[in-house]
Symmetry: C2
Subunit: 428 residues, 2 copies
Amino acid sequence: MAKEFSAVELIIAKREKQELSTDQINWLIENYTKGVVADEQMSAMAMAILLNGMNRREIKDLTLAMIASGERLDFSDLPMPTADKHSTGGVGDKITLMVAPLVSVFGVAVPQLSGRGLGHTGGTLDKMESIPGWQANLSNLQMHEQLEKVGAVVCAAGSGLAPADKKLYALRDVTGTVEAIPLIASSIMSKKIAEGTSSLVLDVKVGSGAFMKNLDRARELAQVLTQIGADAGVKTSALLTDMSTPLGNKIGNSLEVEEAVEVLAGGGPKDVVEITIALATEMLRLSGKTDVDVAAALKDGRAMDKWNQMVAAQHGDPKAVLPKAKHEQVVLAEETGYLNQLDALAVGTASWRLGAGRARKEDPVQFGAGVILHAKRGDQVTKGQPLLTLFTDEENRFERAIDALSGGISIAAERVSGPELILDRISN
Amino acid sequence: MAKEFSAVELIIAKREKQELSTDQINWLIENYTKGVVADEQMSAMAMAILLNGMNRREIKDLTLAMIASGERLDFSDLPMPTADKHSTGGVGDKITLMVAPLVSVFGVAVPQLSGRGLGHTGGTLDKMESIPGWQANLSNLQMHEQLEKVGAVVCAAGSGLAPADKKLYALRDVTGTVEAIPLIASSIMSKKIAEGTSSLVLDVKVGSGAFMKNLDRARELAQVLTQIGADAGVKTSALLTDMSTPLGNKIGNSLEVEEAVEVLAGGGPKDVVEITIALATEMLRLSGKTDVDVAAALKDGRAMDKWNQMVAAQHGDPKAVLPKAKHEQVVLAEETGYLNQLDALAVGTASWRLGAGRARKEDPVQFGAGVILHAKRGDQVTKGQPLLTLFTDEENRFERAIDALSGGISIAAERVSGPELILDRISN
């Protein structure tokens, strides 16, 4: 029989900087899921964890307890290894769309269970749903069959995975306890491990448009994430990548699908291609495929073939015309010089306000809304040239979107270089 | 109009060790009282306050906001000054019963709004209610009239005083956030200041049987309490008094009334008399009465007269026989030597388990249950002599009461002296 504890006793222990035992953590999460531990108790615990921390073992136990609160998928009967990728979220981050088909080209299956967007970063499902006919919801059996047949699937994460995490995440959101690394890390990893992948590459974004604003915090998170992976027997590594400026030239749902298709056709923006290849290479490396030419699979159409199969398998039409916004407005360069700042948060917020994102999880998104960038950070620009174009179905949204951009764009006579695109790689 | 804030923003500010403004604290307490700020948000805030603290101004603002959440009594139209006393709670602490009539002898009115006991320390109302006929509940008008006519009143604090504190206290109790000095201090002082007294003496108990286990924490609490008093315009001072061993010889409801009457009759145990006189003297000093012989009023029956009037005014019969427990059991000394340890928490817990206290606030208490001490800490005792007698209406309670005493009593060949009774006096 599981040991019995009291919630107050456990909160006080963490409040007094004590280590919680495996039994205590299991009891806490099991009883929080059941409603025996009340929300007001869990929020006090979350604040105590945020301020006093958890050690590696506690974080592992917390992650495993959240996994144990729900179902766990198992792809071990597939004839090929599986690799998953998770991004902590960024502006213009459509990498999943290319990486899933690209990696599957090399005989590694990619089960990419995804979510919808909330806030200024988009959600992979919202992007995919802009493809006419495409269905996000698959049964476990359908997912299995698609992985076996196509080798790649992007679909909605079922509600049965880590329900404790879902409950805790909603609570943290309203109690000022989101920014705790043990809680962030166990939240990400419980879902990913429950999804049953055998290896996992994390794209930890750093910068204004990311959850982690500075490199030290991002590195700390990446280390904790990869430790959990190692402790839970999932091969895990992390890339730290820049999110101080948007990724690619297109931000928004159908706009990002367009750009993904450009990359899968062997073109697309340099930064998007670079990160796609880096992440795919890392995913393949963890699955033991080190001698593969990833870039070639983008150039020669093999990745595009997989994309077409993957979209079609979920009733999407890869040839369909994507939704376009009803209205557009061009923002011009106000000066001549170098575009030294093109802030990810500013552009992400503008895209969000244009309708690409949602404020509450019940809200719909506009598939065509978003932003196209005509210049990237570091580019030389001339006064009066188009800098970016805003898209929305509702004209009255332009004003607040333009407000969001103010202070986020700067042009100067001298070129100032921004951070590297790939800042670090962490494995455990 | 009051400014608007968001609960999450305020929680994050305190989490990040920022100072909350007066407007922010007012908004928080007002909206918590109304239910706009949810329990889970307030518990995260309470944990952040516990771990990151509050400065003097924040604590004052928190106290004033809790007072503003309810009604505030006003005794300024009485023809005499008012003085109140508050004890942080101890075992055998019946001092209120003597101090209220004693101070009123000298023309200072004592409005003693009290509570019921929870846990191992008794409640003043439970003790008074052991007097046949005595009524705890008075209207504000009745309280006023009794103060004017008799000069002393012990009654139930109305539910209209500091309702925010009541709500927050219940929340802290289940979320491991009781032990925060800013929260403890504002809780005590909001009720006491709302009660409308012009001066206040705090009896801050220190030791195993008290809320504050060590002198440093007790001194810190006393300083914060007296600062709040000063900041709110109430003359306030604090005595730090020992609670490592019980006060007096009788612990329990009717047993403590018996001992109070002994003291009011000019007798009673030395420690109880000493603290009664010290607290009464301090209350009178704060009301400008410095040249009074407090001890004389105990000896010559003036305090007893006031007691009789005070009890009778609330329909109690001061001459009635008090309830006795049905069963008693004597605990004998197991050795000969000095009684060096007679632990307050052990005796308090024994008395509680005998039925003198309650586990949940809905539970009744046994009026006759409790403990009589036949030897005090430091006394010489002989093997086989009675050390204490336990009283209860339910014989099956003896076993767990005796369990509570184990480890709390020790007899040794050499006498070891305990702490002084009055440890410090703090005023601001």
